[in-house]
Each structure stands twice: as C-alpha cells, then as structure tokens.
Symmetry: D2
Subunit: 477 residues, 4 copies
C-alpha cells in the first residue's frame, strides 16, 4: 500500500508535503519521497526510510518552489531499493515530470513488453515507470491530454499525482478503487489546494477537506485554480472495502463516511451476526489499535464491558535481538502484552479487523488463555480473506491466506479459540453503505459500489496474473 | 524517571536484560545500559539511545556471563551525556562493582561535599556515583554489608541493583517510594531469578512475578538462591501514587494492585466526585493512551458512551521539521488528531491522568472544540500537581506547575474548558487502597502508606532543596 | 574523471571489482558502483562514497555471479546525486544491460534532444544514459552489433564497459583519448580476463597486463575468451597527454610507457628548457605527491639536491572546521606543511605538474618563502593549461584558467615567484614519445598521436560547446 | 603513542585545539578529545574516532571558553573504549580538573593498589586516572603544588597537560623522554600560548615555536603569562631516540633538531656503515613515507640514484574486504605497489626506518623481487629493535620482536633479502647528536642523553613489568 500527497501554491510546499506524508505513514513506511517545482525546474529527494528519518532540514531546503507531490511506500517483498522509491522524476521532450502512485496496474507486464519492443528502457521495477513512458510518447499537446492518453492504455487501480513545471494533476481510476481527496489550505492570505490519499493529512497541516476526487476524475491544479475533467469512459464505482476495514486511519473520512463510525458499525453488526451468550463473566477486548472501534461497537451492542485486555508497546524497534531460548508468544509479545487483571477468569471476546495468515491470531489467543481467560472467542469485523489483492494491497499469495483453504471451524481449531465468528460480506457492505448514506446525508450507494475481491474473488477489473517475466530483471541495490 | 532490570543465573543474561529493558522503556528512553559478569570480570555497554538502537548483536555478544543488571533513563534537563548513563561500573579495592539506580538521593550534595573533602573524584553528574564511593571506603567485609553501610548514609528514594563478580544485590529504600519486584524464570531446567522496576518486564521474557521487594529490603542473589535482609531501621511505607496515576504500564502490578484496575477505579471515583449532567449528546473520550483506563471507568460510572475521540499517531519522530507558518494545535496534532465524527455536536468529557504545565491540555481542549464539540469538560484522574518531586520523577520547577499558583477555576479558564474537575486526594488514596486490598485479597494499607508530596506538599523525607553548587561542574559531552 | 574496471570468469567477481576500483580511486572518489551477473540476471549496488565506505560485506555478497563491471567517479560541479552514479543498469527488450563510462560525449545534447523527440525519458543527468537508449532502439541482433551501432552515433571520448547476461564488452573510442587496458588473472586453475582504466588495478588483484585496448577496438569477453573487433572507421590516435602529466598513477603503464619514467623525463627536459643557475644554495623540492617524479628528474639533470621541502599530511578529512580568524596559508597547510630545515636560506626550485587556477600555487610559494627560502622558482612539468577539456577531465571554465588570459611573466608575479618556467608542448610531446618508444622497444608514435587540446586549443574532435539546455532539468537528490 | 595540545587565551580555543590535534594525528588516530574552560566551568567532548570524524561543528561550539587541552590516542590492544579516551575530566574538592597524557607510568599498578586500598574507585583502565586521584588527595593548596606533589609519587615517562578553571599546567617528566614544546600565537592583538607534543601543530595554526619544555619543567600558563618551575630532583635527559627514527613528523623540530635532517643524516651514516657495491644498476628506494628522508641521505652518500620504487596509496580504508582467494602480497599491496620501471633489472637498496615483527618487510622484499629486481638489499636506519618500550610506545611483546631472538643474518634469510644492514646504536646516537648540535648552534648533548632501551635493553627508569593484576577489570564498552 502507498500514500500520496500534493500541494499547489504555498511558499512552504516541501515542508507541508513532509507533514502530509507524516500523517499518511500508516500507508507506508519503507520509503518516502518528495518532488517540488519552482515553476522552472523540478527538485526531488527520496529515501529508503520513514519520512522523519529520511529528510533532513537541508534536504527540505533543497526542495524549492511552491508546489510539491510526495509519496510513502509500504515494504513489499522483493524490490526494497531506492530506485523503486517514488515519486519517479524524469526529463523528456516536453520538460520534466514527476509521478506518485497509489495502486497497482494489472496490465503492467503487457504494457512493459509493448514499450520495450518500442525501444524503451526501464530503470525501476515499478509499474509506475510505464505511465511516464506513455506520457513521453504521447502525441498530444497539453500535459493533461498526454496523461489522459497514457492512462487510457492502463488498467488497474490508481490514485495518481503528477507534477511538472506548470501544473499538478491528480487522477483517480475510473472505478475509484483507491481513495483520493481534495482540500484547501487558507491562511494569512494564502490559498493552496491540497490532494491526499486520506483527509487525515489535511488535518495535520490545518487544511480543510473539500470533497473526494470522484472515480475517473482528473483534477488539473495550477495558479488559476482547480479544473475538473472526466477523460475516461464512465465505470461503476468499486471503492475498496478493505480501506474501511483496516487500512485507512480511523479519523479519516472516505467517500463521506467516517472510518471510525464505519468500524463501530461493523462491530455492532458483528455482535448481531455472531453473538455470545451474555453473562457477568463476559468481557470484550480489542486487538489494539486496529480492532478498537469494532470492539467498542461490539461491546455496546452485546451489552458487555469493553476493556483493554491487551496493552500495546509503543517502542517496537526494527532490529530486534531474539533470544536463542524459546520464549512463549515472543514475537507478538514484543508488541502486545496481556493485561491479566482484565481477562483472568473471564470469557473473553477478542475483536480484530481481519485474519490473514492466522499465525499472529493464534499467538494472541494462546497468550490470552495463558493469562487466565476461561474462554476465548475470536470475532472478526470482516469476512474471511480468501483472495489476493491485485489493486495495491500487499496481501500474500493465496496459499498463505488461511481462509482460502480452511473453513471457519478449522481456523477456530487452528487458533485454539473456543469460537470464531466472521462478519458476513453482506453485513460488511450494508454497514458501510448505511454510514456512507448517513454521513453524506444522502442516498446510500448501491451494494455493488464496492470492491470485495479479497473476500469474494469477484475481481472488478479482469486481469492476467503476472508471470514475472517482465518484472525486475535488473536488481538494483 | 528510570527503570532497572536484573537477572542471575541464565546463560543468555545479556539478551534477557536487553528484552527486560525493552519492556521498561516507558520509564526512560534517553539512555540504556547493561553490565554483565561471568563470575570473574564485569562487562559493560551503555548508549545514549533507546535500547533497540543502542545495542547491536555484537554489543550483546561482548556482554559475557550468566548475570546482568540493566538501566534505562528518561531525558532530564542538563546532563544528557554518556558519562551519566547507567549502570555505573568501577574498579576498587575489592574488585569491580556496577550499580543501576531508579530514584533520587535527597542528601546528594552533602554526600558529595563530604566525599570530595575526603579526596574523592567525581566523573559523572549522577548522585549514584556517591553510593559507589561509599561502598569503596566502607570498612565492612562482605559486599552486602558494605552496601548496607553505604546506604545507611544515604537519604531519598531508591530502587537499586548492584552487580559484582559474585552476587547481584537488589535494595528498595526503607519507605518503598519507587517500585521493585522479584520474579523467577524457569524453563528447560534453568532457574534464574529476576528483579525489575515493574513486572511487565517479566512478562516479555516469560518469567513469573513472585512478589514485590519490600520497603527497606535487601535481596542478595547468587548461585545458592535469594536471601532477604532488612538492614535499615523500619520506616513507614510511602509508595509513590504517581506510579499508579501515570508512570507504570497499565498491565503492571504494583504492591499487588493491577495498575489498569486502579486507573479504572480512579475514573469511576472521578465520575462520582465530578459528575456531568447526563444526556444523549454526552460522550467520554480519553487522552490516549494514558487516560484510557480512567476514561473507561468514568464512562461506565457516568453511563455515557466511551469513544476514541482523539486518534494517536504511532509514528512521531525525534527531529521534526516545524513549518514557519503557524499551524493551529501543531505540536499536539503531530501526536493526536481529533476524530470529528465522534465529537462533533457533542458535549465531550475528555479524561486525562494529570495536568502539569497545562499547555498541552489547552491545545487539546481547543482542538476538540475546533472539531465541533458543543462543550468540552476536562476530568483529571488525580489531584492538582502543585509540588515538585524530589524522589526521582522529573517534574518541572514549582513555578512551571500551573496548579501551584492557580485555582481549578482559573485553570479551566486557561484551558478554555467549560468545566474542569480533579479527583480529590482522598479519592485517589481510597481508590488505590481498595484495589490493593482487593487484588491482594488482604487488608488495605493505611491511608498514609503513600507518598503524595507532588499533590500535597507533604514530603515524607526531609530535605534541603539542592543548590546545585556541587552539581555537574565538569560538563562532559 | 572516472575509472572503470571489469572482470569475466572469476567466482569472486564482485570482491575483485571492489579491489580493482580501490586501486583506481585516484580517478574518482565521489561515487562507486558495481554491477555483476550470474548469467541470468544483473545485480547492482552504487553509493555516493568511496568504494571502501560505500560497500559493506553484505552489499558485496548480494552481487552474485562470476562477472562484474565497476566505476568510480570524480566529484563534479552540479550533479552529485546517486542517480548519476554508475554503472547505469536498465531493463529493455533484450534483457538487462549495464554500462560504465570514462570520458565525455561531445554530441550529448544533440543526442538527447533527438532521443527525447522520439519519446525517450531520461532519469539521470549523465551523457551515458543516451548510449543505453541507442542500444535499446538499435535494430541489430547481437549485443556487440547493437553497441557498435549505438556508438557510431556518438562523438567524444570514451572508454566503456558493458555487461549483460551473456558477455562483457569493452570499447575504447576511435582516437583512444582515454586509456583502457586488458589483463588476465590466472591462479588456482581459474583464468579470468580483466579490463581497467589503468594496469595498477591489475597489480592489486594479482592480474597481469596483456596490452592496451587499441583505439577504436571493441573486445567481446565471454566464456569462450576474448574476441577483438574494430567496428569504427579508422581515426588517428589522440592519447590524452594529461594522463601522463597528472592523472594516471605513477606506477601505471599507458601505451607501453611507464608513467613514472615519463614524469622523470619531463623533469629532465624541464631542467634543460628552464634552467636555474647552479650553486650550493640551490635545492629542488616537489609538490608532493604529484610533482615528485618530475622533481627527481629535474634535480638529477640540474645537479642540485632533491629534498622533501613540503610534508604532506595523510589525514585530511572531508568536513573541516575552519577557524573564523584568518590563518595564513590555512587551506593548503592542512595538506602541506613546509619543512623549514630543508628550505630556509635556500634558493628553492619547487616542481609541480601543472597550474590550473593558480590559487594553490600562490599559497605554496608564499608558504615556502615564509619558511625562509631566499628565492622561490616555480617549474611546471607541462605547458600552460589554457583550454577546457571536453573529453572527460573536469577542468574549470576558460575564464578560471589563469593561463588562458595571462602570460607566464604575469602568472609569476601573481604567484609571487622569483621565476616561473613551463615545459614546452614540444618538450612534453618529445618526452612522452621517447619513453613510449623506449619502453615498447619499438618505434615512437608520431608527434600528432596525442591530444593536447588543454594546452593548445587544438581539439581533435569538433564539437559545439554544450548550452546546458538539455542538461539536468530534473534535480534528483 | 599519543599526542597532546594546549592553548590559553584565545577566543577560538576549541577550534584551534581541533586543528592542533589534526596536525598531531600521526601520533594517534583511535580517539580524540578536547576539554575547554571559560574560567568558571570545564566543557569536554571525546570520541572514538579521528578528530575530523568525531567532532561536529555543534560539538566544537559546545566547548566554550578561551583555553583548551586536547589529546589524540593510538590504537592499543585491549582497551579501545570511550571511557579510556582522554582528556580525563573530573570534579573534586577544589573544583574541576582535566588531564591529557602522552607517555606511560611504570609504577602504575602499585599506585593503583595504594589508591584502591585508600578507597579510591577507578572508572577507566588508564594509568592517567591515578594522577587525578593523587591531585585530589593532595594536601597542598595551589593546583601547581598539588600537581607537583602528585607527580613526585609517579614514575615513568610523561608529557602532561592539566586544565582547571584558572590555569593550564604543562609538565614534562624529569628525563624528558617524550617531547613537549611551547609556542605563541600572536595575531590581531591576541597573544595566546600554546603547548604541543610537536611544533608541527603550531605550524598549522600559525603559531611560533618558542622552545622545548625542558625535562622536569612545569609551565603554569594563565592570564598573566607563562611561569616556569622545576619541582622535581634533577635527572639526566633521556630523550627517546625512536621519536627521531620514526614517530615524529619529519617537519618537526625536537630538542632543536630538525627531524628530517636527522633522518637524512641517519641515511648517510647507514650508507657508510652498510655500504653497497656501486654500479649503474644500483638504485635506492624508500619505503614511503617513513623511509623517505633516510633513503635520500643514503642515495646521496652512496652516489646512487634515488627513485620512488614503491608507490603509496592514499586511499587505504578501515574495513577492507579481503578476497577468499589468496593474492600475493595482498596486505601490503593495498598500501604499497611496486613501480616496476624503476626497479626491474636493478640491484635495489630499500631503505626503511625500522623492523619490528619483520612480516611486512618480508612482503615488501618479495614484492620488489617479483617486480623484477635482480637483488634486494634492505637497509634500516636504526639498530635492531630488541626490547619492548615501557614509556609510551606500543611495541609488541619481546617474543614478537624478530630481532630479540634472531641475528641480522637470520633476519635477512627470513626477509629473503640479499643483504640486510642495520645502523649501529653508536651511529644513531652520533647522528642525532651532531644534528642537535648543528641546529641549535651549540654544544652536542652527551651520548647518554638519550633513551635507547628498545635497542639496548638499558632502561633509564627501573620498573617491574606490569602483571596486569590491577589493570582493567571492569570492561566498559
């Protein structure tokens, strides 16, 4: 997963991009990059580090100009190299251009093959580089037209920011799979437009959310303001449900819906779909922090007390020394410690957002039981994750997804849980729809306005699974 | 504040000390150090860094032996130098000895003056160095006797760990102001004793809490096991209340009482002492993470919904670039962001553990109001902090403590809060007593078994405020 | 200036490339890079650092395979970014290819404009990237043919190494302006071919110099051995004289001539052309280390004692703190200190290889005089540098070259020298020719077999001075 | 070996100390430290690094005041820890004091035992810490008197600098074994006194050498100027001969004698004592840089040409990757490469300053022969090193000194040299005496005014070889 941020028209563009990326770090901590422009040239800096570690004051000072785009990237298998950090910035016939991308192109290999046959060279393993090549060879005159022509050849999920010497262009893919929103920063007589993957990035810098960028919309931002275009054929909205379930920050608002409210609603619905017998010895605890809102919702609906039964450490480091001697639950214990007093002798409902491989959940269940819980009931505020995501979330392969080959009862046995209950896909969709409708004070989107491929296998964009044949042949360290 | 950890009799002593310190990092992140012994020599490594950054695998490998003591230290004004990191290790007539200290000596300057007159030299600014000098000049034969003779000359709060070639000695001051507990690690046929500031350090390494070290108790740990002595005149227990209110981790157990349960009890009592008019528009939110348990307790007792109205960022870095242009609530916003959906249009009760200077609380109140709260009521789960701590907590000087010169109503005005309510000292003491009694399934300690000097000005150990004349003349970088 | 190194057929290819680059560091210390291949993929690592600082053992271990090319680069103004470090490695239609380049393309801007018009994008500011584009769009089948077709469109000086999955290709430009040599490493039954800018790189790894790569020659090295081709129209040899005068290491052999012997010969000829009155008070001293061989030659011919009148510090660091108070000769003194006993009261002849801006020479003259020299006579073992180099040496612009606008007598006055004598261009050429003839035991090359553009302004390759219009628009940090 | 530098009365004291240490780095690169004073407090910074790497501008800015002492230390076996870096700075009854030491105390263990019995604690493994303890327990009033009383109990070699809030005190041991000199920096109306191990440190900062500190002399430097005292009983001068032979920089002047001139004289005498048959095929080459002056002297006297037959690399790094495959002469080749043209087919005389273990010399001889030399004759400008130094030079133990157990002929065989000739001790002493006499234009010191213990085993200060019993029990990382 990645996060993008852009700003146009502010004298401290680089500093504000830095802060915006800081607020988007839950979307990626492996690399961070910013490209700015002073209207004549572009200036870039990228680092294989969290934004606060990879940018010195001198780095920021070198990023001149009043406009910027930035990018944070999540660690993915194979390809943790500076060359793959974004934004990608290049020179071409029309000047310079930089691009930051959240999402994934499903026809990447075919595009790359076609471009290579034409004589193009690739210096990164990123699918994003293809987009730049397409822009460079476009026959169109204006940058927005060149971008539109390039993206017309592209399939997949993308929230894209482009910066050249003249304008900042933001584009969301026709189905709107990844989020992107528009805001404005007004202070001291300066009005600057901002775009970001989530509005939480606006909060930190004091900007105000105007609206989501619509699926298929292109915004062209320059000194004269913001112009909107819809250069692609209309397509059904397919907003990613996993953004609501896990990825977005709880204080974000996506498509009008507050993520925290969505997650509480998921918890309430989950309590209805997967109830637990009431009793004085019942306690509902979250896996912090991701399961917290759903646990609050679950506890409220179930009428059971909500407690912090697992305490999260804030000091987890990178390079940890593991003792040779085995310590029970060691890996998960570095991050979470059971709070005995809250769970000993209790029937414990532990609420989490999802189960991927199941290994961590199993450790958590055992740890809770070791701390004295009488029963451990696992409740998951989303359906079983059975299919990989090809639209930008780094899920493991199918064979690693425990729910792809095991029924809930088998998973419960594996987790050593007394019971396991998932939210239904219908429950998930209905909950999101109802909060969207309420928060926007409008009509609910239709039930098919969401991508739930990871739960259902129903992929909204057809694709050929990548063979890797055209992928990352040159290994750059 | 500091944290200490010790282990005797385990082949991976250095690794386990490293992990124990990791679990104590909420007590200090400025420096970390470990000294080990193989029975013949001592081996030390200290770093001005968090333990996970300051110790490489090679560093740990160089720390040979089956016993270790470790120390983490909180950043204090003036004196952030490696020389002041602990444990302090020295050679003297009887061999080598190392010491790790949590607490503060109140007769430090007089001690230092007396020692300097005798010809002693001081290489650190730490009061702990005095203890080592006193041990070195003791006329006693055994190490425990030398330590006892040295500590008989010392006043103040201390939980101390000593390591020499033969034994590990743990001492808690006669009033038991700072916590210290004893545990045991049994696995694979190895039995190792462990001591730590809080039992949460035992959880991570799979050790089991045996009991608190008693006020005035000295434990001598060697290959033959643990021997207990009480070398000092008996004194009344004066356990620090602020450990319960703020400092300890919620999953710790101090004096038998679970800290999380204490904090929930404080929240319940606070709801009784400082009630808010009920209503559908009422919501209780914590300042995360410190105010979380009290907010749960408050909400339960007040019958109002508990919500995460402030979202905490997990990615706050050290060296942050602040934009030149003022951003509202910038400093606090890096760490906390209001969750609009949970608070807009609501009467918000925000629960925190304490108010020190008041500047952060003021920013939080304003931020909550900016996010749309109709009213903002501040509730604090401890009494006003009016006096500095001379026993090891780095509180600011009296003039910086807002409650030392302002009434609650004036502070409420400063905070721009609609109301402000503190817990009474009596309420605090009663709540801690009741949980101590319940959790230990025994009698409650008396009401005067606590140090509440920071709230009441009633200092259990008489002292002359330090003049600084004997303090830190040589500034070592 | 840059240095290149290549090896084919050795199990420790990356380690040996590392060592080869270490021996070439006098040709560039700003960046270092290595690309290897295991026959199926390419593996690269580059760093903005000296090779011993930029490559960890783990970096080297990640560079798999039995063949490698490497590159070191000198610091040049504008463009000190990792993206510009070499080798450049890319994927294209035929697989992967990497290239390392010593030299400079004179038609770089025209090439880049043509390629950009075609739709190519540029990710570096390096002229070398153009070569890769030309290879990628070539219509030829084999890699050597594609390279030949690409280089047929290129003008300028180049010693180039290419590596793909199958072969290592080494090419020297038709005029042979930059050096390149071929060697063989035979030990323990392994035979590996090596190529390098200078044979001193062979010495360190125990390889043996076979011969210089001829001007215009292409060597294709693969498992079957070395094949030679001459794909370009024949051109006159124009070996760079400045390599002999300054750039190459004295223990190198270029075109058969030992550089140390050449420099001694220059010193002898200089003593004949620019004699000094003999006398007991005469002493000849070098500017160490570059002027050392010429000073030995000068002293021998002049019959005057050779002394180390300037002592060079071996500990000059990067980031030096300069005192605010002015210190006489501070800048040069960090590196050189006068040895008073050797020069006080003497008539001093100080021998250096060249004068560029004159500022350092002026400081040296003053420093020698301050140390008590009666007279200071400057002798330079090459003609005045009057013209910039467009073939790979980073000389300053014409206006900064003191000899471009001042006669020798004026320069002597600026230097505050009692006399200044340059070697004549004829003297330089004759000396190099005679050593070439002697060391090769063959005929001397003709007098026009050298590039002396920096001395004479007679540029062997016509060119349009670059306008910078197509150069480095995107500034990548 | 170590180097010390001090300055009193200059507004840029820390910066100038930094530069002074930079010029003394040939005396120690393992650690560097500076302590300054503003007249009220002392400020220190020390680092396990070369001075240019271990001191940032911020570090230097934190070192306030107009007076400073500094120290550089050579890497010694066992004890490479920050705690052992100097200057050592402590607080004691009279305020603060810091000390920097070049030399070694021979009664260190007895002193330490006596002090420990008294109750002193030791935080470093350095003998220097004992001196501070002795000062702290002195009954004298003034600092100079306390220092004199302390040093009266000390035996060994020392050039010491002390700094407290009031004065800078410099002391050279009664026999003057290690060098120490006094200078003055006058510019812009500021007059500051400087002291340093060698006057080369004065050159860099523009200070002027006044004179050597005399054996047994104490200089007290404060705002009123420099006062001289001789607090110790008179002892014969025993200046270290190895300083002339190897340790000092050639541009230094020790005891009035220019080191470069001494070394040339050693080379001339060596040519007389250990002649080589003349002939056209004879060439004299130095092992650079240490053997350079002696080789010039040898070549001049022998009437044979002086050539740079070995080229030294300036880029030798710390952490070097060695290939698994053996490379002939690899270790020495990183630093030195034979210059074939100068030695092939020749009878080569290679001149070096000394032979310690013999391993490097053996590699050099073989490397020269491999490069085509017909004969290799080793000439050493000092006598065989047969005994360890107990006065501050880190020679290996006796058993590692090849000359302690082998005759010159055996060593020649080991080196694979055609001949080996050492300078006689008489020749060494006579040469140094004659240059001392000439350069000071005075009488020569007597032949017994030198310490030649490493050559003769005649130790001027009696001592008990240390047992290590009192040494470095606490291992501080």
């Amino acid at each position: 997963m990645c996060g993008v941020f852009g700003i146009f028209g502010h004298p401290e563009a680089a500093n504000l991009a830095y802060l915006g990326l800081h607020a988007l770090q839950h979307r990626g901590q492996e690399s961070a990059g910013i490209v700015t422009s002073d209207g004549e040239r572009l200036f870039g800096h990228r680092a294989m580090a969290r934004v606060q570690d990879g940018f010195t004051p001198a780095d920021l000072a070198s990023l001149r100009g009043d406009r910027a785009i930035g990018h944070v990237r999540y660690s993915t298998a194979g390809g943790s190299h500076l060359k793959n950090a974004q934004p990608i910035g290049v020179d071409y016939a029309r000047g310079s251009i930089a691009v930051a991308h959240n999402g994934n192109l499903t026809n990447f290999e075919a595009l790359r093959e076609r471009l290579e046959e034409r004589g193009s060279i690739f210096q990164t393993a990123s699918d994003t580089e293809s987009i730049v090549h397409l822009i460079a060879i476009s026959g169109k005159e204006s940058i927005p037209d060149r971008i539109a022509e390039a993206l017309a050849q592209v399939e997949g999920a993308y929230s894209l920011l482009f910066l050249d010497e003249r304008e900042l262009v933001a584009v969301r893919d026709p189905m709107g799979i990844r989020p992107l929103c528009l805001g404005v920063l007004e202070r001291d007589g300066v009005t600057a437009h901002v775009v970001a993957s989530e509005p939480t990035a606006f909060d930190l810098i004091g900007a105000r959310l105007l609206r989501d960028v619509a699926p298929g919309e292109m915004l062209v931002i320059d000194a004269s303001g913001v112009r909107s275009r819809f250069p692609f054929p209309k397509a059904p909205r397919k907003m990613c449900l996993f953004e609501y379930v896990y990825f977005a920050r709880p204080d974000s608002v996506l498509e009008g819906a507050n993520v925290y409210e969505v997650r509480k609603a998921l918890g309430r619905r989950l309590a209805e779909e997967q109830p637990i017998r009431a009793g004085d010895d019942l306690v509902v605890i979250p896996v912090p922090d991701s399961g917290l809102p759903a646990a609050i919702g679950f506890a409220g609906r179930a009428g059971a007390p909500f407690e912090m039964g697992l305490i999260r450490s804030h000091y987890v480091g990178r390079t940890f020394i593991e003792p040779q001697q085995s310590i029970r639950h060691f890996g998960v214990r570095l991050k979470l410690n059971p709070n005995r007093a809250a769970i000993a002798g209790k029937r414990v409902v532990v609420v989490d957002d999802s189960i991927v491989r199941g290994t961590t959940s199993r450790k958590i269940v055992k740890m809770i039981r070791d701390a004295g819980a009488r029963e451990v009931h696992v409740r998951i505020s989303s359906p079983p994750v059975r299919w990989p995501c090809f639209y930008g979330i780094d899920t493991p392969t199918r064979s690693e997804l425990i729910a792809s080959s095991h029924a809930a009862s088998e998973i419960a046995t594996y987790l050593t849980a007394d019971s396991l209950g998932y939210l239904s896909l219908e429950g998930l969709v209905e909950s999101v729809r109802s909060v969207e409708a309420r928060d926007r004070a409008g009509e609910a989107p239709t039930a098919d306005a969401y991508c739930h491929a990871c739960f259902s296998g129903s992929y909204p964009i057809p694709f050929t699974p990548p063979t890797g044949a055209r992928h990352l042949r040159m290994v750059n360290g």
